[in-house]
């Protein structure tokens, strides 16, 4: 190790550390007065705000069969079961997709959700059964659930290194009669099924 200049440096470093310690002591008073907000809640809120925007985009970039759009006066964007969206999702109410006004609905029973265009499936005991019931319905199923896309769900959110990404099961989409735009497919981290 080169020692010339070493002592001066160490002295300065120690002086620096001391200065920092003093500054820290002074700041302590200040810190006590700075409110510390719940970072976890904030993060969760951010996550669901972003997911809300994604659901909106999914609605835009998926094509439903003509009939399911023409027959209904509105575009139904639904949740099934408990979700963490809170009131976030309701901010989509009134926006237009495929020339229809979005209406946001929250359901707890599958029977009520059959007429939805898009269903976000939250905490739900009978996921496999739900997916089986919806598989031939023109309903875009979306969920956070692990393995959702493998089990026959169409779009699955996945947190990757703190960013929200999604997986797409194109076979499930095809069975449901939905067409997913190439833009969505190109952004998915993985696409299962034949394109």
């Amino acid at each position: 190790m080169k020692l010339s200049g070493h002592n001066t440096f160490m002295r300065k470093l120690i002086a620096g550390i001391q200065a920092v310690r003093q500054a820290m002591a002074a700041l302590l008073v200040l810190l006590l007065t700075v409110p510390v907000s719940g970072m976890a809640d904030e993060a969760q809120q951010t996550e669901y705000r972003i997911k809300t925007a994604f659901l909106y985009n999914f609605s835009r970039f998926v094509v439903w069969p003509e009939a399911t759009l023409q027959d209904r006066s509105e575009f139904s964007l639904c949740t099934l079961g408990e979700t963490l969206f809170g009131e976030q999702l309701d901010t989509l109410t009134g926006k237009i997709v495929h020339n229809k006004v979005i209406v946001v609905k929250h359901f707890y029973r599958l029977e009520d959700a059959l007429d939805c265009h898009l269903v976000f499936i939250g905490e739900h005991d009978e996921l496999a059964e739900t997916l089986w019931t919806l598989r031939k319905q023109p309903v875009l199923t979306v969920s956070n659930a692990t393995g959702f896309a493998e089990k026959g769900g169409i779009i699955q959110f996945k947190l990757i290194k703190n960013k929200i990404r999604f997986l797409i099961n194109t076979d499930a989409a095809k069975t449901a009669g939905l067409t997913i735009s190439s833009k969505l497919l190109s952004l998915a981290i993985s696409v299962t099924g034949t394109r």
Binding site: G5, Q44, A53
Partner: protein
């Protein structure tokens, strides 16, 4: 020397209403990045798309109210703080950082890396001739400026020959650059030996973000032609890839006696990214280039003593050829621990009248990050670099030995401690061993305090080392003697085995404020204390034949003081104003025993102030107008004055249909031509920068 990693977090503007300036969340992010990039690696970039550059914000309060206005690409780039992980705090950025986004590069009309750096506070960019630049951070500018570390996708691109950069060889497809992070001040703790006054980190997009085809043609009076073709696709097994080719042809600059400095370069490359699971990401990429750069160089020839030395002016093309391959694997072991392994090979070939270099480098870098107890974020790493060169001796430039292998071993550890939610202390040190100066240590301490949601105060004390370059120990460079001197006596710059590292102790303080993304200010002040700076103490060798020797030595100390400011104001949706300003004062002192007559002059080779102001205005959705004014103060290079100058840049961009963009760009519009810098060590003929006007068509499909 440790290389930096590419990170994935994007920090960019979506060109709409939400433009965060590099100074706040972006910078926060970026420094988190730069810290975290060491952990994460490139795979994370999978998320950004070529078409848009996307400004992401870490914190909720920096997001716009209505996220549905944002593109999906932008949404995918927002980092959310997961509950399980340690939250990212705004106070993370305890350093002076400026981020140039992909959108900035487009709007500034940038054709190569040096042009991108002109508006960055604290960075001096000056052209010596059409293909040579003097670029530095916080003073000591020269063609051979040696206190700046430049990385392209984690690959170090400065040459160990003189510790500077052959800027004309560092080409990238500008459209595929995700961002350029410019960190002023020492980054020695994490990056190592050359990161004395700054680090420039050029990060290209993940292949997942450059899907599809792109063709771009640029042509004008000075930029004679730049053609780029890129194809991006996805293999069946999920691997994203892109391949590209780029060719650039630049006209000569201005000189009353003929410039002969036109140049051209061609480059091919690829990048593939594989993000198979959320735990692993693998990047494999490579480039190959060839170039030819004209110059007019004066060299002293003839033997010493009678007959007298003659000074010849030679017009010549420097031929360059090089390439690299880089592999990076990032693996997340648990949610609070990950490691990354990076290996690259790099070849540089350069054959000019004076300079000749043929170099192969292999670098292996490993880093591991983990969380320790609740509040410690620890990252440590190991790096080994082997570099071997061959040189071709000529009467002007000779290295002894002509071929040499150099090993560099290094290790570092850094701990970021969360003392409070808004108070972070970072302690770290790097220890390395190089064949030139032996063991070197580079510790640093940084403290960041979040004053409120929108304000951060930070400070740091760190030590950084600029290890000797190969040339400083081994070169014999025949200089052209000053006109007053007897041309019959050779003047030779001599490498010296005892030449040691230059040492810096840096004290920095910074403040940044971001008010609702409407306006923001980032201020940094620094005091740098240098020791063992390079000197050339002349001595007469009586011979026979007699000669003047200038051995490299470490007989100078000095202090620099500076202030850097960057500010942004989002006037309204679709109109943004930016300003940057830097002030620098350098005071160099020769040791009592030194007889050096030249080294102190670098005090005057950087402008004491420089400033830029620029506007980015959108008309509707598809028309953009950009304007900039740049001021650079007067300098003096080796006793010759160069006046201050003001220049203007303009751009008009029109997206005629989705994917097709036409633009017309003017640079340096206020003067027919103006000088910016002068050569050092090697007497190439300086030329002047001319007004440049060019058009560009970019078609993505």
């Amino acid at each position: 020397m440790n290389t930096d990693r590419q990170t994935g977090q994007s920090a960019h503007s979506n060109g709409l209403t939400m433009q965060t300036i590099p100074t706040t969340p972006t910078a926060r992010l970026a420094i988190t990045l730069t810290r975290r990039l060491r952990r994460i690696g490139a795979g994370m970039t999978a998320g950004m798309l070529a078409a848009l550059s996307v400004q992401a914000a870490t914190l909720d309060d920096t997001l716009p109210d209505d996220l549905t206005d944002m593109s999906m690409e932008a949404l995918m780039n927002i980092e959310i703080t997961s509950v399980a992980k340690k939250p990212q705090k705004q106070s993370d950025a305890a350093a002076a950082i400026f981020v140039i986004t992909n959108d900035d590069l487009r709007r500034w009309g940038v054709t190569n890396i040096p042009e991108a750096l002109r508006r960055v506070p604290g960075i001096d960019v000056a052209k010596i001739d059409a293909n040579k630049w003097a670029i530095t951070s916080r003073g000591f500018n020269s063609r051979f400026a040696n206190k700046l570390l430049v990385l392209i996708d984690g690959r170090s691109v400065y040459t160990p020959l003189f510790a500077g950069v052959y800027w004309d060889n560092q080409d990238v497809v500008v459209q595929d650059v995700e961002r350029i992070e410019v960190i002023r001040g020492p980054g020695g703790t994490l990056w190592g030996a050359n990161a004395v006054n700054g680090v420039i980190n050029i990060i290209t997009k993940s292949a997942a973000d450059t899907q599809g085809d792109m063709v771009s043609v640029t042509a004008g009076n000075e930029v004679k032609g730049i053609g780029v073709a890129r194809h991006g696709g996805k293999l069946k097994n999920g691997i994203d890839y892109r391949v590209y080719a780029k060719y650039s042809d630049y006209d000569e600059a201005y000189s009353s006696s003929g410039a002969h400095d036109d140049w051209r370069t061609g480059q091919l490359g690829f990048r593939s990214d594989w993000v198979q699971t959320d735990r692993d990401s693998i990047t494999f990429q490579g480039d190959y280039y060839r170039g030819k750069a004209g110059q007019q160089v004066s060299i002293a020839t003839g033997t010493a003593g009678p007959p007298p030395t003659t000074i010849n002016q030679v017009v010549d093309d420097t031929e360059t050829e090089g390439g690299n391959l880089l592999f990076r694997w990032s693996h997340m072991t648990t949610s609070s621990s990950d490691f990354a392994l990076q290996i690259y090979y790099d070849h540089v070939g350069l054959d000019g009248t004076v300079l000749y270099e043929d170099r192969d480098t292999l670098d292996i870098d490993f880093q591991h990050r983990f969380q320790w107890r609740e509040d410690h974020d620890v990252v440590w790493g190991l790096d080994y670099r082997f570099t071997h060169d061959n040189t071709d001796n000529n009467p002007t430039f000779k290295l002894d030995p002509s071929s040499r292998s150099v090993n560099l071993y290094s290790t570092f550890i850094q701990d970021e401690i969360s003392l409070q939610d808004n108070l972070h202390l970072t302690l770290g040190t790097k220890l390395e061993h190089n064949d030139f100066s032996g063991f070197e240590y580079q510790p640093g301490i940084r403290l960041a305090l979040g004053l409120s949601a929108s304000q951060t105060l930070w400070g740091s004390v760190s030590r950084a080392v600029r290890m000797p370059a190969r040339g400083e120990q081994d070169v014999m460079l025949r200089l052209v003697p000053p006109s007053s001197a007897d041309p019959g006596i050779p003047v030779v710059a001599d490498g010296d085995d005892g030449y040691d590292s230059e040492v810096l102790t840096a004290y920095e303080l910074g403040y940044r404020l971001n008010h609702d993304n409407i306006w923001s200010v980032d201020v940094a002040v620094f005091y740098n204390d240098y020791d063992k700076l390079r000197t050339l103490d002349p001595s007469v060798d009586p011979g026979p034949p007699p000669s003047v020797r200038l051995p490299f030595d470490n007989n100078m100390s000095g202090e620099t003081y500076g202030l850097e400011l960057a500010s942004q104001w989002q006037v309204r949706s679709g109109w943004r104003l930016n300003a940057s300003y830097s002030w620098l004062d350098m005071r160099l002192h020769l040791d009592n025993n030194s007889t050096d007559t030249t080294s102190r002059s670098s005090e005057d080779a950087s402008p004491s102030s420089k400033a830029a102001i620029w506007s980015a205005l959108d008309f509707g959705n598809n028309l953009q107008f950009d304007a900039a004014l740049r001021y650079v103060g007067g300098i003096e290079v080796n006793g010759i004055d160069i006046d201050s100058y003001v220049e203007a840049d303009l751009r008009l961009g029109w997206e005629t249909s989705p994917g097709l963009e036409l633009s017309i760009i003017g640079q340096n519009l206020l003067d027919n031509h103006h000088p910016e810098f002068l050569p050092d060590f090697i007497n190439t003929q300086p030329t002047e920068v001319e007004r440049s006007i060019y058009g560009r068509i970019t078609w993505s499909f």
